[in-house]
Every structure is written in structure tokens, then in C-alpha cells.
Amino acid sequence: MKTIRSSFLIAIALCTSMVFAALGQAEEQSIIVQSTTSTQNSGLFDYILPIFQKSSGIRVDVVAVGTGQAIKNARNCDGDVLFVHAKPAEEKFVSEGYGVKRFDVMYNDFVIVGPPADPAGISGYSGAAASLRKIADTKSTFASRGDDSGTHKKELSLWKKAGVDVNAASGTWYRETGSGMGATLNVSVGMAAYTMTDRATWIAFRNKGGFKVAVEGDQLMFNQYGIMQVNPVRCPNVKASAARRFVDWIITRPGQSAIAGYKLDGQQLFFPNAARQGAS
């Protein structure tokens, strides 16, 4: 009986200490960056953030979700910096007073990947709209993010250019996964469907299953990333000075060269293009 009671007491003591250990956060300077899955899944943050932390002493915690959700979270003041890729939505975020000022950071491009059999016969095309029209004409399966992310918004704009009404086809050859890029790529490979992805996620993706890049090189598939501070006037809780230091770092030479330095299998995944590069 005694052993039971003491073991229960020990268990309770252990649990209590765990609660406190879990609640007690290390008092180290840190900021939260709301960002997208492509920057995280490609390994970019794992590479550049330790470099920033080393020079500034600021730890950057990344919440990687779709661009739509990242913007929504930032509007709720749940983050200090927004780092995404949907320029019109970012500009709206700033003009509505949620963000301070938007800066270009880097770019890469989108590609359309597809099964080795290439049922739509688009391999080697460089026109995005023409290849999407061909996919629609042949009713080849296409997996869409369907999640209001930056990639999804871009894909919808290309369908519009192609003059294809994908809403009408949803559930037939056009399938919306409602998931992140990686999950959608897994689905595409699983059902031999074409999909559009940013090149960084594609290069880093490990479950390619024989899929290849079918369409690339169209100016329309340019993928620009932007960064902005969440507005401290609107969100008094944001850590404005640490957030500004991060934004300043990433759009000037140290951050820009860190981005250029990230390579996977010998390929550079993101190309820095901040206007202020080299200014400081």
C-alpha cells in the first residue's frame, strides 16, 4: 500500500515538474516568422537562420503554412514578420495597415511536373497557358493545391489565362487536394496527375516516383518572395526592433548572400533580388 502511495506521489511530482518545465520558456530573444511551406520544406530556413542567429543573437521561429493562412495568422497579430510569395495579397496586407513595408527578397520559378507517360503530351513546352489548355483538352488528371496558398493563387491565374474553367471540372480530371505542396506532390505521384510546384520544393522532394518537370521557363511562372514586418501600431505585442533587424538582414548583403549560398544537389534553389542589395 505504501509503495503504491509513494509511487503515485512520485508520478504526480514528475507530472507537475513537467508542466512547469513545459511552461517555462527560455528568456532568449526570438521572433515568429509566418512563412510558407516551400521555404521550410526546401531546407532554406535550416540553412540561413543559424547564420542570422549567430550574427544577431535573435532566434527565428518559423511557422510554415500556406501563404493564405500565413497572412491570416499575421492579420491576427500572431507573428512578427511575414515572409511569403503572393505579391498582390502582400500588397493588400500592407495597404490595409497590417504590414509596415513590403520588400522583394528572392525569386525562383514554378514548374509543371507530370508522370513519365506524359498523357497530355506537354513535355518540353515552355508556354504555361498552352500546356494547361492541353491538359484540359485531353482531360489529363491535374492535382491542384486548392488551399488559397501562393502557389494555388498563381495556378488559378494561369488557368484563367488558358481560358479553362477549372471550377466546372473540379472532382473530375481537376482535383483539389486542399493540402500543402508536399502533400499535393505525394497525391500527384499516387494518382499520376500533373501538378504545379515551386522549383525549390520539387528539387528537395524525395518521393518523385519517376515524375519529371514537363513545363518550365515561362515568364508567367516567375515566383517572387516578399518580406514585411507586422505593423506594431496595429499589433502592440510584436517585437518590432528584432523584427526590423531580421528584415534588414535578409534584404541586405549578408542575408542575400546566405540565400544565394543555399544549394541542394549542387543546384541553387532561390535567387536573391532585393532592391537594396549591397546598399549597406
Binding site: 500500500m1 509503495t3 503504491i4 509511487s7 503515485f8 504526480i12 514528475l14 507530472c15 507537475t16 513537467m18 508542466v19 518545465a21 513545459a22 511552461l23 520558456q25 515568429i32 511551406t37 521550410q40 520544406n41 535550416d46 521561429d61 518559423v62 511557422v63 510554415a64 495568422n73 492579420r75 491576427n76 497579430c77 500572431d78 500543402g180 505542396m181 508536399g182 502533400a183 506532390l185 505525394n186 528537395a204 522532394f205 524525395r206 518521393n207 518523385k208 516516383g209 499589433c235 505585442n237
Partner: protein, 237 residues
């Protein structure tokens, strides 16, 4: 291809554990801390609630029992969403600054498993209360003493109840990924790490982490069972 991933997963899982991979240890540690803390909260809130529902008659008790039982099926992603809305800086509890910290994950998992602990406790205690009813009546035992005696005598069954809660907590991903944000070295736990590796297409590593998670659950269950066995044998000695 898939079979290769499968074999690779076992090799990776073994390698990760054998090498005591620092990131893995950190993630396992956080998973255990968060889920055990949630079990603790659920025990403190859910067990007395379950015992009360089992032993005390009051109007609306039947409805309360049905509601608690139904809440066992709470979808984690809904709990995550509600907790996010409450803890967001735009929400009513934003001042706590819990969002994207382990504290938020403990809150979400506690909400998820407290109904499980309460509902199962009620069932266990009610059955036992039925057995003891005559004795209690003849000795005219007051209600709080009754609840204490019932909980003490039902402790082995209740240990299993807590294990059920722990199992649900350590295995869920929908709630913690929303309120924790899956931040590396801060709020990344086993299940969110598995989700991340799956989205990177690294199925072998994802499955390897899944194997480690299963072994972890096995170890916790074995520890509780052996504690129970040794307690039983010493009680009979």
C-alpha cells in the same frame, strides 16, 4: 519502391535510436512532456468529474453523461482551431502569450483527453459504486469519503483510463500543429515531425519516426503495467 521505403524505415529507425540523434531526443522529450502534462491535467479535472457523475444523482445528469461521452469523439483539428482562436493575439486569451509554445499544445491536448478520462472514469466508478452501494448505505458513508474510497479501489482500472488518454494525446497531430506551429526546436513533436517529413516526400524517415513513436507508446504502457504489477504483488505480500 514502397517496399524499399519500408525496409529503409526500419533501418533508419534503428539507426536514429542507436545513434541517440540529438534532434530526435529533443522531439521525443517534448512529445512526452506535452502529453504527460496533458494527462496530468486531464486526471485532475476528469477523474473527479467522472466520479461525481457516477455517484451523485442530480437533474440533468443523464444529459451530462451523454455529452461527456460524445466529447470523446472531439476532432483534434477542431480543438486546435478553437484553442488557436482563443489564444491568438486577436483572441480573448491572447495576453497569455501561449500561442506557438508548448503551453498551447498542453492546453489543446488537455481539452481533447479530459472528456475521455471523465467518461471512462464515470463508467469504472459507476460499476464499482453499484457493487459497494449496500455497504455504503449501511455505514452511511458521506459522499466525499465514498468517492475517495471508490477512486482508491478502482486505481488499476483508472491507470488504464489514463493510458487511453495518453495514447490519444501522444498520437494526435491536428491540434498541436495548429496551436504549436511545428516550430523546430520549440514546438516540434513526434507527430508533427512525421507530418513534415511526409510532406517533404521522405516517406522512409517519416515511417522511421512513426516506428519510434510506437516503441515510445509501448514503453510507457509497459512501465505503467509493471508499476501496477509490482504494486499488486507488494500489496498481497
Amino acid at each position: 519502391m514502397i517496399m524499399q521505403d519500408f525496409a529503409e524505415a526500419f533501418r533508419l529507425a534503428f539507426g536514429l535510436v542507436a545513434a541517440m540523434d540529438a534532434d530526435l531526443i529533443e522531439i521525443i522529450g517534448l512529445s512526452l512532456r506535452v502529453s504527460l502534462a496533458a494527462v496530468f491535467v486531464a486526471a485532475v479535472l476528469g477523474m473527479p468529474l467522472g466520479a461525481l457523475l457516477a455517484t451523485v444523482r442530480f437533474p440533468g445528469r443523464g444529459v451530462a453523461v451523454i455529452v461527456i461521452n460524445a466529447l470523446m469523439g472531439l476532432p483534434p483539428v477542431v480543438v486546435g482551431l478553437l484553442v488557436y482562436m482563443a489564444l491568438s493575439n486577436a483572441g480573448p486569451l491572447g495576453f497569455l502569450q501561449f500561442l506557438y509554445t508548448p503551453a498551447a499544445m498542453i492546453v489543446a491536448q488537455s481539452i481533447l483527453i479530459t472528456p475521455i478520462v471523465a467518461a471512462l472514469t464515470r463508467q469504472v466508478i459507476e460499476d464499482m459504486n453499484f457493487e459497494y452501494a449496500e455497504q455504503f448505505a449501511s455505514l452511511s458513508v458521506p459522499w466525499h469519503t465514498r468517492i475517495a474510497a471508490l477512486i482508491s479501489d478502482a486505481r488499476y482500472a483508472l491507470a488504464t483510463v489514463l493510458l487511453a488518454g495518453f495514447g490519444r494525446a501522444i498520437a494526435e497531430v491536428g491540434a498541436v500543429i495548429i496551436v504549436g506551429g511545428n516550430i523546430a526546436h520549440l514546438t516540434r513533436v513526434m507527430t508533427t515531425a512525421i507530418a513534415l517529413e511526409t510532406s517533404k516526400g521522405d516517406l522512409a524517415l517519416a515511417l522511421a519516426l512513426g516506428i519510434v513513436l510506437l516503441v515510445l507508446a509501448l514503453a510507457v504502457n509497459a512501465a505503467v503495467m509493471s508499476l501496477r504489477a509490482s504494486a499488486q504483488s507488494s500489496a498481497h505480500a
